[in-house]
């Protein structure tokens, strides 16, 4: 059986990308976001902490957002930011890393009209 990507990611751009206008960039990441406070089946063992520590959204290698997430964020985090569309559009990229060292990234072209 094929092994699944444990942390699927969806990057979407909402709105019409007209130059000078704002579009919404949304990131949805499949991640358990374990706080480390929950107890397991037996009621004794703590479920180990597993939190996304840092997310960076870039437009043409220029940082738009750099967020440090904590234990207060629910599982499968959905983040969104608004960006003004530059003259030639560009490449939107998202990178995240969690405290276990796992990483993920996604890219999408922002085509200006």
């Amino acid at each position: 059986m094929a092994t699944l990507n444990q942390h699927p990611i969806r990057l979407s751009i909402l709105g019409t990308p007209k130059v000078g206008q704002e579009v919404e960039i949304r990131v949805l990441i499949g991640h358990p976001m374990e706080t480390g406070y929950r107890l397991g089946e037996g009621g004794n063992d703590r479920i180990p902490k597993n939190i996304i520590e840092n997310i960076v959204i870039k437009l043409n290698q220029q940082v738009l957002m750099n967020a440090d997430l904590g234990t207060g964020i629910a599982a499968n985090p959905l983040l969104s930011i608004f960006v003004e569309v530059p003259k030639d559009g560009g490449m939107i990229s998202v990178e995240w890393r969690d405290d276990l060292g796992k990483q993920g990234r996604a890219e999408k072209m922002l085509l200006a009209i």
Partner: protein, 255 residues
């Protein structure tokens, strides 16, 4: 053409008075808060899309060899649960997750649980493909199976109306008699089975129909049946038959 239109309107006006008063059956989605409904209908924010993506991946890797048409297989979502007998075993009620587990067993010789990530991903993928199909649970043609099917249906109805647990409540007391009222901060919705598996925010993950029903049992502090037990299947069969003709909502989100 115009005359025909006039006639059909007249026909409708005359005869609609004679239609029996119908119970309007509403899917659980109509009881969501506006914010939740917005999230449900948003393909870029609805968390179930993550599972749909994974399901697509699994489908392409494992299922395409035997099943060519996704639409064809997705129609099973609205037909199940059905009576099925494995070789040398008595007939049992099977739901879609049982079928997926059985298929995975054939491929990789391992038995998965209903809450396994792969099972849920594939179940959600099929459920999404079945969106908009009318639910149609049919009784089997074979005479022997027919009797068993009816027994299961009666058992399901009995469970639905049976008081149980420390709260001494039956399903019907909330899900028929108190629809639309508040239960803690949630609104009680009627028990129609139109969109599973569900993403529940309190679980922070996706769960199968088994998990949802077991949560109901534990909610009234009754003895919780084990997953894939015949009791849960009988109840599911009854609930699905109750939703006969309603349109399938696809994977849904709940609080």
């Amino acid at each position: 053409m115009n005359i025909l239109k006039c006639f059909s309107v007249l026909f409708f006006i005359v005869f609609s008075y004679h239609l029996p008063a119908q119970v309007i059956r509403q899917s659980g989605n109509q009881f969501l808060s506006p914010e939740m409904l917005k999230l449900q209908n948003d393909p870029n924010g609805n968390p179930t899309v993550l599972w749909i993506d994974q399901g697509q991946e699994l489908w392409n890797a494992n299922c395409v060899k035997c099943h060519q048409e996704i639409k064809e297989l997705a129609s099973a979502v609205v037909r199940y649960p059905i009576l099925k007998s494995k070789l040398g075993q008595a007939s049992k009620v099977w739901n879609i997750e049982d079928q997926i587990i059985d298929c995975f067993g054939k491929i990789s010789q391992e038995s998965l649980s209903t809450e396994h990530q792969n099972v849920l991903a594939l179940s959600i993928f099929l459920s999404d493909a079945a969106k908009g199909m009318p639910i149609h649970v049919d009784e089997p043609n074979i005479k022997k199976d027919k009797q068993l099917w009816q027994e299961q249906m009666i058992q399901g109805a009995a469970i639905y109306t049976r008081r149980q647990g420390r709260l001494n409540l039956s399903c019907t007391q909330c899900h028929d008699q108190n629809i639309g009222k508040n239960l803690r901060s949630d609104i009680v919705s009627p028990a129609y089975l139109t969109g599973f598996p569900i993403y529940r925010q309190s679980w922070q993950t996706v769960g199968s129909i088994d998990r949802r029903l077991r949560a109901c049992y534990s909610g009234v502090q009754a003895t919780v049946p084990s997953t894939q037990s015949s009791e849960l299947r009988a109840l599911e069969l009854f609930l699905k038959k109750r939703s006969e003709g309603m349109l399938w909502d696809g994977p849904s989100i709940r609080r």
